[in-house]
């Protein structure tokens, strides 16, 4: 049962990811990612991570991906017409990826072939998470606010549509030459 669920949603997730790769239009890629996220949310549930599963759907898939989609719409992004120009990626990309995949899968998963994960014997619900956040993880929790401030600033600085600032009248380029001599 658990294994079946795992496999089904693993396949969905991988399929979504592959679809992400195969789609040429960014909007489909974004939607593929939403699919992956959804599948992962189920896997989280299987792992007993209720809280994470929910915010995965609500925040990640819900908010962040919407932001992506929104930007794609705003920019009216379509398929990119230009030819791929990276010879290095074309030549080395696949071998390197294969290598990386083999290493990671074998080395990361390898040691845990016999570590069973039971269903439902360890649940992480919102309460303990909140406790932990305001206790052990108080500092990071507080500091994330700085992170968001930076995010806001970034959006303001980079994306706010202001008129191109007419360069202030050039600072008096006095005869510095003479002054410095």
């Amino acid at each position: 049962m658990q294994l079946t669920l795992f496999l089904i949603f693993a396949v969905v997730a991988v399929a979504g990811a592959v679809n992400l790769l195969l789609q040429r239009h960014p909007i489909y890629s974004a939607l593929s990612l939403v699919t992956v996220m959804g599948a992962l949310a189920v896997e989280y549930l299987l792992l007993g991570a209720e809280f994470i599963a929910f915010i995965q759907v609500i925040v990640y898939a819900g908010a962040i991906m919407v932001l992506f989609v929104f930007v794609i719409m705003v920019l009216n992004a379509g398929e990119v017409a230009s030819q791929p120009r990276s010879k290095v990626a074309a030549l080395l990309g696949l071998p390197v990826l294969t290598l990386l995949g083999i290493i990671l899968v074998s080395r990361v998963a390898g040691p845990f072939q016999h570590t069973p994960i039971g269903l439902g014997d360890f649940l992480v619900q919102t309460g303990p998470v909140g406790q932990s956040l305001f206790h052990k993880f108080l500092l990071p929790f507080e500091v994330t606010s700085v992170l968001f401030l930076v995010g806001v600033l970034g959006a303001v600085v980079l994306a706010a549509r202001r008129e191109k600032p007419a360069l202030a009248p050039p600072p008096a380029e006095k005869a510095v030459v003479a002054a410095q001599r």
Binding site: Q2, L3, F6, A10, A13, V14, A17, L20, L21, R24, P26, S29, L33, V36, L40, E43, Y44, L47, A49, F51, I52, I55, Q56, Y60, A63, I64, L67, F68, V71, E79, V80, P84, R85, A89, G93, L100, L104, V105, V108, A109, F112, Q113, T115, P116, I117, F122, V124, V129, S132, F137, P140, T144, L147, F148, V150, G151, V152, G154, A155, A159
Partner: protein
């Protein structure tokens, strides 16, 4: 009973697919999306380890990763918007003005 290794393998696969997306996708937004895919792969590993260790910490990490991802998405998309305003294209391979 599912071995932990299955979850970890799935996480590694997703991570690598993210990398692949970064390497092969042609438009900036998809490249960025690929990064999110990588992060999702990592998140799965966190949760799986958390579960295996029977600790809550891993879940908290994922929470923070999502927070970071959100901030990153905001800034990243702002950057993309700025780039598009300057260049009028979303092609990754068009970003080659800076080079030797």
């Amino acid at each position: 009973m599912v071995p932990l290794s299955y979850y970890l393998a799935l996480s590694a696969i997703l991570f690598c697919l993210g990398v692949a997306g970064f390497l092969f996708k042609q438009d900036i937004i998809t490249v960025f999306i690929s990064i999110e895919l990588m992060l999702n792969g990592v998140n799965l590993a966190f949760v799986a380890f958390s579960r295996a260790l029977r600790q809550i910490d891993g879940n908290i990490f994922v929470f923070f990763v999502m927070v970071v991802a959100a901030a990153e998405a905001a800034v990243g998309l702002a950057i993309i918007i700025a780039v598009v305003r300057n260049r009028n294209t979303l092609a990754v391979d068009a970003m080659e003005e800076l080079k030797d």
